[in-house]
Protein backbone atom coordinates (compact mmCIF):
# COMPACT_ATOMS: atom_id res chain seq x y z
CA UNK A 1 0.00 0.00 0.00
CA UNK A 2 2.59 2.52 1.19
CA UNK A 3 4.83 1.24 -1.56
CA UNK A 4 2.17 1.86 -4.19
CA UNK A 5 1.45 5.33 -2.85
CA UNK A 6 5.14 6.16 -3.05
CA UNK A 7 5.48 4.91 -6.61
CA UNK A 8 2.47 6.89 -7.76
CA UNK A 9 3.42 9.97 -5.76
CA UNK A 10 6.91 9.87 -7.31
CA UNK A 11 5.92 8.95 -10.83
CA UNK A 12 3.70 11.98 -11.29
CA UNK A 13 6.37 14.65 -10.74
CA UNK A 14 8.87 12.56 -12.72
CA UNK A 15 6.52 12.62 -15.71
CA UNK A 16 6.04 16.37 -15.93
CA UNK A 17 9.11 17.34 -17.97
CA UNK A 18 8.42 14.59 -20.51
CA UNK A 19 4.73 15.45 -20.62
CA UNK A 20 5.26 19.17 -21.24
CA UNK A 21 7.78 18.52 -23.98
CA UNK A 22 5.59 15.85 -25.58
CA UNK A 23 2.55 18.10 -25.64
CA UNK A 24 4.70 20.73 -27.31
CA UNK A 25 5.97 18.25 -29.87
CA UNK A 26 2.39 17.13 -30.39
CA UNK A 27 1.40 20.62 -31.52
CA UNK A 28 4.41 20.75 -33.85
CA UNK A 29 3.57 17.44 -35.42
CA UNK A 30 -0.15 18.10 -35.62
CA UNK A 31 0.76 21.12 -37.73
CA UNK A 32 2.97 18.89 -39.88
CA UNK A 33 6.41 19.67 -38.48
CA UNK A 34 8.61 16.97 -36.97
CA UNK A 35 10.92 18.62 -34.44
CA UNK A 36 13.73 16.37 -33.29
CA UNK A 37 15.39 19.44 -31.74
CA UNK A 38 13.16 19.28 -28.67
CA UNK A 39 16.19 18.21 -26.62
CA UNK A 40 18.06 21.38 -27.52
CA UNK A 41 15.14 23.65 -26.68
CA UNK A 42 14.73 21.91 -23.32
CA UNK A 43 18.41 22.49 -22.55
CA UNK A 44 18.07 26.20 -23.26
CA UNK A 45 14.89 26.33 -21.20
CA UNK A 46 16.59 24.59 -18.29
CA UNK A 47 19.52 27.00 -18.40
CA UNK A 48 17.56 30.23 -18.78
CA UNK A 49 14.98 29.10 -16.24
CA UNK A 50 17.61 28.90 -13.53
CA UNK A 51 19.67 31.82 -14.80
CA UNK A 52 17.21 34.47 -13.71
CA UNK A 53 16.81 33.48 -10.04
CA UNK A 54 20.52 32.66 -9.96
CA UNK A 55 21.50 36.03 -11.33
CA UNK A 56 19.01 37.73 -9.06
CA UNK A 57 20.66 36.45 -5.92
CA UNK A 58 23.60 34.14 -6.39
CA UNK A 59 22.09 31.01 -4.95
CA UNK A 60 20.64 32.88 -1.97
CA UNK A 61 16.89 32.47 -1.48
CA UNK A 62 15.06 34.89 -3.77
CA UNK A 63 11.41 35.89 -4.01
CA UNK A 64 9.31 33.65 -6.20
CA UNK A 65 8.85 36.38 -8.77
CA UNK A 66 12.32 35.64 -10.12
CA UNK A 67 11.38 32.01 -10.53
CA UNK A 68 8.30 33.03 -12.49
CA UNK A 69 10.46 35.34 -14.60
CA UNK A 70 12.78 32.39 -15.16
CA UNK A 71 9.91 30.22 -16.38
CA UNK A 72 8.68 32.99 -18.66
CA UNK A 73 12.14 33.60 -20.09
CA UNK A 74 12.54 29.88 -20.72
CA UNK A 75 9.23 29.77 -22.56
CA UNK A 76 9.98 32.91 -24.55
CA UNK A 77 13.35 31.66 -25.75
CA UNK A 78 11.86 28.23 -26.35
CA UNK A 79 9.28 29.82 -28.61
CA UNK A 80 12.04 31.79 -30.31
CA UNK A 81 14.02 28.64 -31.02
CA UNK A 82 10.85 27.06 -32.35
CA UNK A 83 10.51 29.96 -34.77
CA UNK A 84 14.18 29.66 -35.72
CA UNK A 85 13.54 26.01 -36.53
CA UNK A 86 10.53 27.13 -38.53
CA UNK A 87 12.75 29.43 -40.55
CA UNK A 88 14.87 26.44 -41.52
CA UNK A 89 12.19 23.84 -42.17
CA UNK A 90 9.09 25.88 -43.06
CA UNK A 91 10.54 28.84 -44.92
CA UNK A 92 13.63 27.19 -46.38
CA UNK A 93 12.06 23.70 -46.51
CA UNK A 94 15.08 22.00 -44.96
CA UNK A 95 14.57 18.27 -44.27
CA UNK A 96 13.13 18.21 -40.78
CA UNK A 97 14.87 15.21 -39.24
CA UNK A 98 18.37 16.46 -39.92
CA UNK A 99 17.55 20.07 -39.11
CA UNK A 100 16.13 18.82 -35.82
CA UNK A 101 19.43 17.18 -34.96
CA UNK A 102 21.10 20.47 -35.83
CA UNK A 103 18.80 22.34 -33.47
CA UNK A 104 19.41 19.80 -30.74
CA UNK A 105 23.20 20.26 -31.02
CA UNK A 106 22.83 24.01 -31.18
CA UNK A 107 20.54 24.20 -28.15
CA UNK A 108 22.50 21.85 -25.91
CA UNK A 109 25.80 23.45 -26.95
CA UNK A 110 24.62 27.01 -26.50
CA UNK A 111 23.09 26.30 -23.12
CA UNK A 112 26.33 24.67 -21.98
CA UNK A 113 28.55 27.40 -23.39
CA UNK A 114 26.62 30.32 -21.95
CA UNK A 115 26.25 28.46 -18.66
CA UNK A 116 30.01 28.07 -18.42
CA UNK A 117 30.46 31.76 -19.14
CA UNK A 118 27.76 33.24 -16.93
CA UNK A 119 27.63 30.66 -14.12
CA UNK A 120 30.38 28.04 -14.33
CA UNK A 121 30.26 24.75 -12.45
CA UNK A 122 27.14 22.75 -11.71
CA UNK A 123 24.96 25.20 -9.84
CA UNK A 124 21.90 24.80 -7.67
CA UNK A 125 19.09 27.28 -7.13
CA UNK A 126 16.38 27.56 -4.46
CA UNK A 127 13.88 26.86 -7.19
CA UNK A 128 10.16 26.43 -6.73
CA UNK A 129 9.01 24.43 -3.73
CA UNK A 130 6.28 21.86 -3.31
CA UNK A 131 2.86 23.28 -2.66
CA UNK A 132 0.66 20.70 -0.97
CA UNK A 133 -2.95 21.76 -1.46
CA UNK A 134 -4.23 22.46 2.09
CA UNK A 135 -7.18 20.14 2.71
CA UNK A 136 -6.93 17.81 -0.26
CA UNK A 137 -3.35 16.77 0.45
CA UNK A 138 -4.44 15.23 3.75
CA UNK A 139 -6.81 12.77 2.13
CA UNK A 140 -5.22 9.35 2.51
CA UNK A 141 -3.83 7.84 -0.70
CA UNK A 142 -5.28 10.53 -3.02
CA UNK A 143 -3.66 13.34 -1.07
CA UNK A 144 -0.01 12.34 -1.31
CA UNK A 145 -0.46 10.99 -4.82
CA UNK A 146 -2.28 13.92 -6.40
CA UNK A 147 -2.21 16.98 -4.19
CA UNK A 148 1.23 17.37 -2.64
CA UNK A 149 3.33 18.42 -5.59
CA UNK A 150 5.05 21.36 -7.17
CA UNK A 151 2.72 24.06 -8.54
CA UNK A 152 3.99 23.35 -12.02
CA UNK A 153 2.84 19.76 -11.68
CA UNK A 154 -0.75 20.86 -11.13
CA UNK A 155 -0.39 23.36 -13.94
CA UNK A 156 0.87 20.70 -16.34
CA UNK A 157 -1.96 18.32 -15.62
CA UNK A 158 -4.43 21.17 -16.07
CA UNK A 159 -2.68 21.79 -19.37
CA UNK A 160 -3.61 18.33 -20.66
CA UNK A 161 -7.35 18.92 -21.00
CA UNK A 162 -6.54 22.44 -22.13
CA UNK A 163 -4.35 21.06 -24.91
CA UNK A 164 -7.14 18.67 -25.87
CA UNK A 165 -9.64 21.50 -25.98
CA UNK A 166 -7.37 23.76 -27.98
CA UNK A 167 -6.59 21.06 -30.48
CA UNK A 168 -10.11 19.76 -31.02
CA UNK A 169 -12.44 22.57 -30.05
CA UNK A 170 -10.90 25.87 -31.12
CA UNK A 171 -10.48 27.42 -34.56
CA UNK A 172 -6.73 27.48 -34.06
CA UNK A 173 -6.66 23.79 -33.25
CA UNK A 174 -8.73 23.16 -36.33
CA UNK A 175 -6.26 25.15 -38.42
CA UNK A 176 -3.35 23.27 -36.88
CA UNK A 177 -4.86 19.86 -37.58
CA UNK A 178 -5.77 20.83 -41.14
CA UNK A 179 -2.31 22.21 -41.83
CA UNK A 180 -0.78 18.93 -40.74
CA UNK A 181 -3.29 16.63 -42.41
CA UNK A 182 -3.91 18.31 -45.74
CA UNK A 183 -2.13 21.65 -46.17
CA UNK A 184 -3.48 22.16 -49.69
CA UNK A 185 -7.05 21.88 -48.49
CA UNK A 186 -6.34 24.25 -45.63
CA UNK A 187 -4.68 26.68 -48.00
CA UNK A 188 -7.56 26.52 -50.47
CA UNK A 189 -9.96 27.96 -47.88
CA UNK A 190 -7.63 30.80 -47.00
CA UNK A 191 -5.70 29.37 -44.07
CA UNK A 192 -2.09 30.49 -44.09
CA UNK A 193 -0.56 27.08 -43.54
CA UNK A 194 3.00 28.17 -42.99
CA UNK A 195 1.91 30.87 -40.55
CA UNK A 196 -0.02 28.23 -38.60
CA UNK A 197 3.06 26.03 -38.61
CA UNK A 198 5.16 28.85 -37.23
CA UNK A 199 2.58 29.43 -34.50
CA UNK A 200 2.56 25.75 -33.63
CA UNK A 201 6.35 25.72 -33.52
CA UNK A 202 6.30 28.69 -31.18
CA UNK A 203 3.83 26.97 -28.87
CA UNK A 204 5.76 23.72 -29.02
CA UNK A 205 9.02 25.52 -28.35
CA UNK A 206 7.55 27.38 -25.40
CA UNK A 207 6.34 24.12 -23.87
CA UNK A 208 9.70 22.45 -24.45
CA UNK A 209 11.41 25.42 -22.85
CA UNK A 210 9.03 25.16 -19.91
CA UNK A 211 9.79 21.45 -19.65
CA UNK A 212 13.48 22.24 -19.37
CA UNK A 213 12.85 24.95 -16.81
CA UNK A 214 10.73 22.51 -14.80
CA UNK A 215 13.77 20.25 -14.52
CA UNK A 216 16.14 23.00 -13.43
CA UNK A 217 13.73 24.97 -11.24
CA UNK A 218 11.31 22.41 -9.84
CA UNK A 219 12.62 18.88 -10.08
CA UNK A 220 16.37 19.01 -9.34
CA UNK A 221 16.66 22.75 -8.80
CA UNK A 222 20.09 22.89 -10.34
CA UNK A 223 21.73 22.99 -13.73
CA UNK A 224 24.60 21.44 -15.55
CA UNK A 225 24.96 21.13 -19.29
CA UNK A 226 24.01 17.44 -19.17
CA UNK A 227 20.72 18.05 -17.45
CA UNK A 228 18.39 16.92 -20.25
CA UNK A 229 20.24 13.65 -20.87
CA UNK A 230 18.07 12.48 -23.77
CA UNK A 231 14.68 13.32 -22.28
CA UNK A 232 13.92 15.40 -25.37
CA UNK A 233 14.15 12.34 -27.59
CA UNK A 234 11.96 10.33 -25.25
CA UNK A 235 9.41 13.13 -25.36
CA UNK A 236 9.36 12.92 -29.15
CA UNK A 237 8.97 9.17 -28.98
CA UNK A 238 6.04 9.53 -26.58
CA UNK A 239 4.16 11.58 -29.18
CA UNK A 240 4.17 8.50 -31.38
CA UNK A 241 3.12 6.43 -28.40
CA UNK A 242 0.13 8.73 -27.96
CA UNK A 243 -0.74 8.93 -31.63
CA UNK A 244 -0.84 12.73 -31.44
CA UNK A 245 -3.58 12.74 -28.81
CA UNK A 246 -3.04 14.62 -25.54
CA UNK A 247 -4.64 12.02 -23.32
CA UNK A 248 -2.80 9.03 -24.76
CA UNK A 249 0.45 11.01 -24.65
CA UNK A 250 -0.18 11.68 -20.97
CA UNK A 251 -0.77 7.98 -20.52
CA UNK A 252 2.58 7.27 -22.14
CA UNK A 253 4.46 9.81 -20.03
CA UNK A 254 2.88 8.44 -16.84
CA UNK A 255 3.54 4.84 -17.84
CA UNK A 256 7.19 5.71 -18.41
CA UNK A 257 7.58 7.61 -15.16
CA UNK A 258 5.75 5.12 -12.97
CA UNK A 259 7.97 2.43 -14.42
CA UNK A 260 10.93 4.67 -13.60
CA UNK A 261 9.85 5.14 -9.99
CA UNK A 262 9.05 1.46 -9.63
CA UNK A 263 12.43 0.43 -11.05
CA UNK A 264 14.33 2.73 -8.69
CA UNK A 265 12.31 1.57 -5.70
CA UNK A 266 12.90 -2.08 -6.52
CA UNK A 267 16.63 -1.44 -6.84
CA UNK A 268 16.55 0.13 -3.39
CA UNK A 269 14.80 -2.91 -1.95
CA UNK A 270 17.73 -5.00 -3.14
CA UNK A 271 17.79 -7.00 -6.34
CA UNK A 272 19.82 -10.10 -7.17
CA UNK A 273 20.17 -9.33 -10.85
CA UNK A 274 22.34 -6.65 -12.48
CA UNK A 275 20.80 -3.19 -11.93
CA UNK A 276 21.15 -2.36 -15.64
CA UNK A 277 18.18 -4.55 -16.37
CA UNK A 278 16.12 -2.59 -13.87
CA UNK A 279 17.18 0.65 -15.54
CA UNK A 280 15.99 -0.74 -18.90
CA UNK A 281 12.47 -1.32 -17.61
CA UNK A 282 10.76 1.97 -18.53
CA UNK A 283 12.19 2.02 -22.03
CA UNK A 284 11.26 -1.59 -22.73
CA UNK A 285 7.81 -1.22 -21.21
CA UNK A 286 6.89 1.68 -23.48
CA UNK A 287 7.76 -0.34 -26.57
CA UNK A 288 5.89 -3.42 -25.40
CA UNK A 289 2.75 -1.55 -24.42
CA UNK A 290 2.66 0.29 -27.75
CA UNK A 291 3.25 -2.94 -29.65
CA UNK A 292 0.07 -4.39 -28.20
CA UNK A 293 -2.13 -1.33 -28.60
CA UNK A 294 -3.15 -1.40 -32.25
CA UNK A 295 -4.10 1.91 -33.77
CA UNK A 296 -5.32 3.35 -37.04
CA UNK A 297 -2.78 5.97 -38.02
CA UNK A 298 -5.37 7.64 -40.20
CA UNK A 299 -6.04 10.14 -37.44
CA UNK A 300 -2.50 11.44 -37.44
CA UNK A 301 -1.05 14.33 -39.40
CA UNK A 302 -0.78 12.74 -42.82
CA UNK A 303 1.42 15.51 -44.20
CA UNK A 304 3.89 15.24 -41.32
CA UNK A 305 7.38 16.22 -42.41
CA UNK A 306 6.31 17.60 -45.77
CA UNK A 307 7.04 21.29 -46.33
CA UNK A 308 4.19 23.18 -47.93
CA UNK A 309 4.33 25.52 -50.87
CA UNK A 310 1.39 26.36 -53.11
CA UNK A 311 3.24 26.11 -56.36
CA UNK A 312 5.50 23.17 -55.78
CA UNK A 313 3.53 20.04 -56.38
CA UNK A 314 5.96 17.49 -55.09
Amino acid sequence: MDFTVNILALGIPFSVALLLASLGEMFNQRAGVFNLGCEGIMAMGAFLGMLVPYGAGHGAPVPGTFNVLGLLLAMAVGALLGLLFGLAVVTFRAPQGIAGIGLQMFGVGTAGTLFRHFVGGTQSVPGIDRLPIPVLSDIPFIGPVLFSHNPLVYLTFLLVPAAWYILFRTPWGLRVRASGANPRAADSVGIRVNLVRFQALAVGGALAGLAGAYLSLCQVKMFSDEIIAGRGFIAVALVYFGHWRPLKITGGALLFSFAQALQLAIQGQGIDFPYEFAVMLPYALVIVVLAFSRESLLLGPTALGKPFNREMRT
Binding site: G120, T122, V220, S224
Partner: protein
Protein backbone atom coordinates in the same frame (compact mmCIF):
# COMPACT_ATOMS: atom_id res chain seq x y z
CA UNK B 1 60.45 15.93 -30.26
CA UNK B 2 59.34 16.75 -26.70
CA UNK B 3 61.68 15.51 -24.06
CA UNK B 4 60.64 15.05 -20.46
CA UNK B 5 64.25 15.06 -19.35
CA UNK B 6 64.63 18.67 -20.47
CA UNK B 7 61.74 19.52 -18.16
CA UNK B 8 63.81 18.54 -15.15
CA UNK B 9 64.21 21.74 -13.14
CA UNK B 10 62.53 23.75 -15.90
CA UNK B 11 58.86 24.33 -16.60
CA UNK B 12 56.82 21.12 -16.82
CA UNK B 13 54.03 21.18 -19.36
CA UNK B 14 51.11 19.14 -18.03
CA UNK B 15 48.04 18.27 -20.10
CA UNK B 16 44.85 16.86 -18.56
CA UNK B 17 42.25 14.86 -20.45
CA UNK B 18 38.88 14.42 -18.77
CA UNK B 19 35.53 12.86 -19.57
CA UNK B 20 33.36 15.60 -18.07
CA UNK B 21 34.28 19.17 -17.16
CA UNK B 22 36.72 20.91 -14.84
CA UNK B 23 33.83 22.29 -12.82
CA UNK B 24 31.75 19.13 -12.33
CA UNK B 25 32.27 19.32 -8.55
CA UNK B 26 33.40 15.71 -8.72
CA UNK B 27 35.98 13.37 -10.17
CA UNK B 28 37.32 15.65 -12.88
CA UNK B 29 37.27 18.89 -10.92
CA UNK B 30 39.22 17.16 -8.15
CA UNK B 31 42.16 16.53 -10.48
CA UNK B 32 41.87 19.99 -12.04
CA UNK B 33 41.96 21.65 -8.62
CA UNK B 34 44.87 19.43 -7.67
CA UNK B 35 46.93 20.64 -10.60
CA UNK B 36 46.06 24.28 -9.88
CA UNK B 37 47.09 23.75 -6.25
CA UNK B 38 50.38 22.17 -7.37
CA UNK B 39 50.92 25.19 -9.61
CA UNK B 40 50.67 27.36 -6.49
CA UNK B 41 52.96 25.13 -4.45
CA UNK B 42 55.59 25.01 -7.19
CA UNK B 43 55.55 28.54 -8.57
CA UNK B 44 56.67 28.73 -12.19
CA UNK B 45 57.22 25.00 -12.48
CA UNK B 46 53.93 23.99 -14.13
CA UNK B 47 52.36 24.94 -17.44
CA UNK B 48 48.87 23.48 -17.66
CA UNK B 49 46.25 22.81 -20.31
CA UNK B 50 43.15 20.60 -20.26
CA UNK B 51 40.63 19.07 -22.67
CA UNK B 52 37.07 18.51 -21.49
CA UNK B 53 34.35 16.09 -22.61
CA UNK B 54 36.85 13.76 -24.18
CA UNK B 55 35.25 10.69 -25.65
CA UNK B 56 37.85 7.95 -26.10
CA UNK B 57 38.38 8.79 -29.77
CA UNK B 58 38.63 12.55 -29.12
CA UNK B 59 41.11 11.86 -26.35
CA UNK B 60 43.35 10.36 -29.00
CA UNK B 61 43.29 13.52 -31.08
CA UNK B 62 43.98 15.61 -28.02
CA UNK B 63 46.97 13.51 -26.99
CA UNK B 64 48.47 13.68 -30.47
CA UNK B 65 48.05 17.42 -30.45
CA UNK B 66 49.57 17.79 -26.98
CA UNK B 67 52.52 15.62 -27.96
CA UNK B 68 53.15 17.73 -31.04
CA UNK B 69 53.03 20.81 -28.81
CA UNK B 70 55.78 19.34 -26.62
CA UNK B 71 53.86 18.57 -23.44
CA UNK B 72 55.85 16.55 -20.91
CA UNK B 73 53.14 14.91 -18.86
CA UNK B 74 49.81 13.88 -20.30
CA UNK B 75 47.22 12.69 -17.79
CA UNK B 76 44.24 10.62 -18.87
CA UNK B 77 41.99 10.98 -15.85
CA UNK B 78 40.04 7.75 -15.89
CA UNK B 79 40.83 4.11 -16.55
CA UNK B 80 38.92 4.32 -19.83
CA UNK B 81 41.97 6.17 -21.18
CA UNK B 82 44.32 3.38 -20.10
CA UNK B 83 44.53 1.84 -23.52
CA UNK B 84 45.17 5.12 -25.27
CA UNK B 85 47.84 6.13 -22.77
CA UNK B 86 49.69 2.82 -23.06
CA UNK B 87 49.57 2.93 -26.85
CA UNK B 88 50.77 6.52 -27.02
CA UNK B 89 53.45 5.76 -24.46
CA UNK B 90 54.75 3.11 -26.82
CA UNK B 91 54.57 5.52 -29.71
CA UNK B 92 56.19 8.50 -27.90
CA UNK B 93 58.70 7.11 -25.38
CA UNK B 94 59.99 10.58 -24.51
CA UNK B 95 56.66 11.79 -23.17
CA UNK B 96 55.41 10.82 -19.74
CA UNK B 97 51.85 9.57 -19.52
CA UNK B 98 49.69 9.00 -16.48
CA UNK B 99 46.30 7.53 -15.91
CA UNK B 100 44.14 6.31 -13.08
CA UNK B 101 42.39 4.58 -11.54
CA UNK B 102 44.77 1.67 -11.82
CA UNK B 103 47.36 -0.09 -9.71
CA UNK B 104 49.08 -1.64 -12.70
CA UNK B 105 52.76 -0.92 -13.07
CA UNK B 106 53.09 0.62 -16.51
CA UNK B 107 56.13 0.92 -18.78
CA UNK B 108 58.95 3.27 -17.84
CA UNK B 109 57.20 6.37 -19.16
CA UNK B 110 53.78 5.69 -17.66
CA UNK B 111 52.60 6.54 -14.16
CA UNK B 112 49.42 5.10 -12.75
CA UNK B 113 47.50 6.34 -9.73
CA UNK B 114 44.92 4.61 -7.63
CA UNK B 115 42.62 6.43 -5.20
CA UNK B 116 41.63 3.84 -2.61
CA UNK B 117 38.26 5.51 -2.25
CA UNK B 118 36.84 2.66 -0.18
CA UNK B 119 38.56 4.42 2.75
CA UNK B 120 36.58 7.62 2.23
CA UNK B 121 33.43 5.61 1.57
CA UNK B 122 34.05 3.69 4.79
CA UNK B 123 34.16 6.90 6.83
CA UNK B 124 30.96 8.09 5.19
CA UNK B 125 29.47 4.71 6.04
CA UNK B 126 30.41 4.96 9.70
CA UNK B 127 28.76 8.37 9.97
CA UNK B 128 25.65 7.28 8.11
CA UNK B 129 25.32 4.09 10.11
CA UNK B 130 25.59 5.92 13.42
CA UNK B 131 23.45 8.91 12.38
CA UNK B 132 20.46 7.16 10.93
CA UNK B 133 17.39 7.21 13.15
CA UNK B 134 15.26 5.03 10.91
CA UNK B 135 18.04 2.48 10.51
CA UNK B 136 17.86 3.07 6.77
CA UNK B 137 20.55 4.64 4.62
CA UNK B 138 20.55 5.35 0.91
CA UNK B 139 23.33 4.99 -1.61
CA UNK B 140 22.94 6.72 -4.95
CA UNK B 141 25.31 5.12 -7.42
CA UNK B 142 26.04 6.12 -11.04
CA UNK B 143 27.45 3.11 -12.90
CA UNK B 144 28.75 0.32 -10.72
CA UNK B 145 32.35 0.68 -11.74
CA UNK B 146 35.47 2.75 -11.37
CA UNK B 147 36.20 4.97 -8.41
CA UNK B 148 32.49 5.17 -7.54
CA UNK B 149 32.32 1.40 -7.10
CA UNK B 150 35.14 1.52 -4.53
CA UNK B 151 33.62 4.43 -2.62
CA UNK B 152 30.17 2.84 -2.58
CA UNK B 153 31.39 -0.53 -1.36
CA UNK B 154 33.53 1.16 1.25
CA UNK B 155 30.36 2.92 2.37
CA UNK B 156 28.53 -0.38 2.77
CA UNK B 157 31.41 -1.79 4.84
CA UNK B 158 31.35 1.31 7.02
CA UNK B 159 27.64 1.11 7.72
CA UNK B 160 27.77 -2.60 8.48
CA UNK B 161 30.72 -2.06 10.82
CA UNK B 162 28.75 0.21 13.16
CA UNK B 163 25.14 -0.74 12.47
CA UNK B 164 24.78 -4.29 11.13
CA UNK B 165 20.97 -4.12 11.28
CA UNK B 166 20.75 -0.97 9.20
CA UNK B 167 18.99 -1.33 5.86
CA UNK B 168 21.18 -0.11 3.01
CA UNK B 169 19.31 0.93 -0.11
CA UNK B 170 21.54 0.80 -3.19
CA UNK B 171 20.35 2.10 -6.53
CA UNK B 172 22.24 3.04 -9.68
CA UNK B 173 21.14 5.54 -12.30
CA UNK B 174 23.18 3.89 -15.02
CA UNK B 175 24.90 7.16 -15.89
CA UNK B 176 27.64 9.35 -14.41
CA UNK B 177 26.11 12.63 -15.52
CA UNK B 178 22.33 12.27 -15.26
CA UNK B 179 21.87 14.05 -11.94
CA UNK B 180 18.18 14.52 -12.58
CA UNK B 181 17.85 10.77 -12.29
CA UNK B 182 20.17 10.82 -9.27
CA UNK B 183 17.70 13.23 -7.70
CA UNK B 184 14.90 10.84 -8.55
CA UNK B 185 16.78 8.00 -6.90
CA UNK B 186 17.36 10.02 -3.73
CA UNK B 187 13.72 11.10 -3.65
CA UNK B 188 12.63 7.47 -4.04
CA UNK B 189 14.90 6.33 -1.24
CA UNK B 190 13.81 9.12 1.08
CA UNK B 191 10.19 8.25 0.46
CA UNK B 192 11.09 4.65 1.23
CA UNK B 193 12.51 5.70 4.60
CA UNK B 194 16.18 6.47 4.12
CA UNK B 195 17.31 9.35 6.35
CA UNK B 196 21.03 9.45 5.60
CA UNK B 197 22.23 9.30 2.03
CA UNK B 198 25.44 9.43 0.09
CA UNK B 199 26.38 9.28 -3.55
CA UNK B 200 29.33 9.24 -5.89
CA UNK B 201 30.43 10.90 -9.17
CA UNK B 202 29.30 14.30 -10.41
CA UNK B 203 25.66 13.21 -10.58
CA UNK B 204 25.65 12.86 -6.76
CA UNK B 205 24.91 16.58 -6.57
CA UNK B 206 21.44 15.83 -7.86
CA UNK B 207 20.90 13.51 -4.93
CA UNK B 208 22.31 16.04 -2.46
CA UNK B 209 19.96 18.65 -3.89
CA UNK B 210 17.05 16.30 -3.38
CA UNK B 211 18.12 15.81 0.24
CA UNK B 212 18.45 19.56 0.72
CA UNK B 213 14.91 19.90 -0.57
CA UNK B 214 13.67 18.38 2.70
CA UNK B 215 14.89 21.52 4.41
CA UNK B 216 13.54 20.93 7.90
CA UNK B 217 13.23 17.14 7.88
CA UNK B 218 15.99 15.18 9.69
CA UNK B 219 17.44 13.85 6.47
CA UNK B 220 21.19 14.05 6.02
CA UNK B 221 23.95 13.64 3.51
CA UNK B 222 27.51 12.40 3.67
CA UNK B 223 29.63 13.64 0.81
CA UNK B 224 32.29 12.13 -1.38
CA UNK B 225 33.79 15.54 -2.02
CA UNK B 226 34.53 18.33 0.45
CA UNK B 227 33.29 20.82 -2.11
CA UNK B 228 29.84 19.53 -1.20
CA UNK B 229 30.14 21.03 2.28
CA UNK B 230 30.83 24.49 0.91
CA UNK B 231 27.93 24.74 -1.56
CA UNK B 232 24.48 25.98 -0.63
CA UNK B 233 23.24 22.47 0.08
CA UNK B 234 26.17 22.03 2.47
CA UNK B 235 23.89 22.47 5.46
CA UNK B 236 22.72 18.90 4.88
CA UNK B 237 26.21 17.50 4.50
CA UNK B 238 27.56 16.21 7.80
CA UNK B 239 31.01 15.41 6.50
CA UNK B 240 32.96 14.67 3.37
CA UNK B 241 36.35 13.51 2.19
CA UNK B 242 38.15 14.27 -0.98
CA UNK B 243 41.12 13.44 -3.08
CA UNK B 244 44.22 15.48 -2.64
CA UNK B 245 45.61 15.32 -6.17
CA UNK B 246 47.77 18.35 -5.43
CA UNK B 247 50.11 16.04 -3.58
CA UNK B 248 50.12 13.55 -6.45
CA UNK B 249 51.05 16.20 -8.99
CA UNK B 250 53.77 17.65 -6.80
CA UNK B 251 55.28 14.22 -6.34
CA UNK B 252 55.05 13.61 -10.10
CA UNK B 253 57.09 16.74 -10.76
CA UNK B 254 59.57 15.71 -8.09
CA UNK B 255 59.94 12.27 -9.67
CA UNK B 256 60.51 13.88 -13.06
CA UNK B 257 63.25 16.04 -11.55
CA UNK B 258 64.74 12.87 -10.10
CA UNK B 259 64.73 11.39 -13.59
CA UNK B 260 61.97 8.88 -12.84
CA UNK B 261 59.55 9.05 -15.77
CA UNK B 262 57.12 6.29 -14.98
CA UNK B 263 56.89 2.63 -14.16
CA UNK B 264 55.31 3.42 -10.81
CA UNK B 265 51.86 3.43 -9.27
CA UNK B 266 50.95 6.27 -6.93
CA UNK B 267 48.17 5.19 -4.59
CA UNK B 268 45.93 7.76 -2.92
CA UNK B 269 44.95 7.00 0.64
CA UNK B 270 44.81 8.71 3.99
CA UNK B 271 48.19 7.43 5.11
CA UNK B 272 50.00 9.10 2.19
CA UNK B 273 47.90 12.24 2.31
CA UNK B 274 46.06 11.32 -0.86
CA UNK B 275 42.77 11.94 0.91
CA UNK B 276 41.57 14.60 3.28
CA UNK B 277 38.54 14.34 5.50
CA UNK B 278 36.47 17.12 7.03
CA UNK B 279 33.40 17.48 9.21
CA UNK B 280 30.92 20.25 8.53
CA UNK B 281 31.62 22.68 11.40
CA UNK B 282 28.13 24.14 11.15
CA UNK B 283 26.66 20.75 12.03
CA UNK B 284 28.74 20.10 15.15
CA UNK B 285 25.78 18.74 17.08
CA UNK B 286 25.38 16.05 14.44
CA UNK B 287 28.74 14.43 15.03
CA UNK B 288 30.27 15.52 18.33
CA UNK B 289 30.64 12.55 20.60
CA UNK B 290 30.42 8.96 19.46
CA UNK B 291 30.49 9.67 15.77
CA UNK B 292 33.47 11.99 15.87
CA UNK B 293 35.32 9.60 18.14
CA UNK B 294 34.68 6.58 15.92
CA UNK B 295 35.72 8.48 12.84
CA UNK B 296 38.94 9.68 14.41
CA UNK B 297 39.82 6.18 15.61
CA UNK B 298 39.31 4.84 12.13
CA UNK B 299 41.33 7.65 10.61
CA UNK B 300 44.18 6.74 12.98
CA UNK B 301 44.01 3.16 11.67
CA UNK B 302 43.99 4.29 8.08
CA UNK B 303 46.93 6.61 8.67
CA UNK B 304 48.87 3.78 10.24
CA UNK B 305 48.11 1.03 7.74
CA UNK B 306 46.56 1.72 4.31
CA UNK B 307 44.76 -0.77 2.14
CA UNK B 308 43.02 -2.77 4.85
CA UNK B 309 39.49 -2.90 3.46
CA UNK B 310 38.34 -5.74 1.21
CA UNK B 311 35.90 -3.63 -0.79
CA UNK B 312 35.56 -6.07 -3.68
CA UNK B 313 33.95 -8.61 -1.34
CA UNK B 314 30.82 -6.48 -0.97
CA UNK B 315 27.85 -7.92 -2.82
CA UNK B 316 24.84 -5.62 -3.06
CA UNK B 317 22.40 -8.43 -3.73
CA UNK B 318 23.16 -9.83 -0.27
CA UNK B 319 22.02 -6.63 1.49
Amino acid sequence: RPNAAEAAGGAVKIALIIESTVDDKGWCQAMHDGILQAQKELPGRIEYSYSEKMKPVDAGSAVLQYVSQGYHIIIGHGAQYKNLMLEMAEEYPDVTFAFGTSAEIGPENVFTYMPQSEETGYLSGLIAGMTTKKNTVGLVGPVDGGDAARYNRGFVLGVQAVNPKAKIMVAHTGSFADFVKAGEVAETQIKAGADVLTGSSQQALGALRAVADHRDAPIWWVGQDIAQIRITEGYKCIAASSYNYGAVIVSLVAKLDAGVRGGECIPLNFSNGGFVFAFNETLKNMYTGAVEQKVNETLEKFLATPDTLDWSAVDYSKL
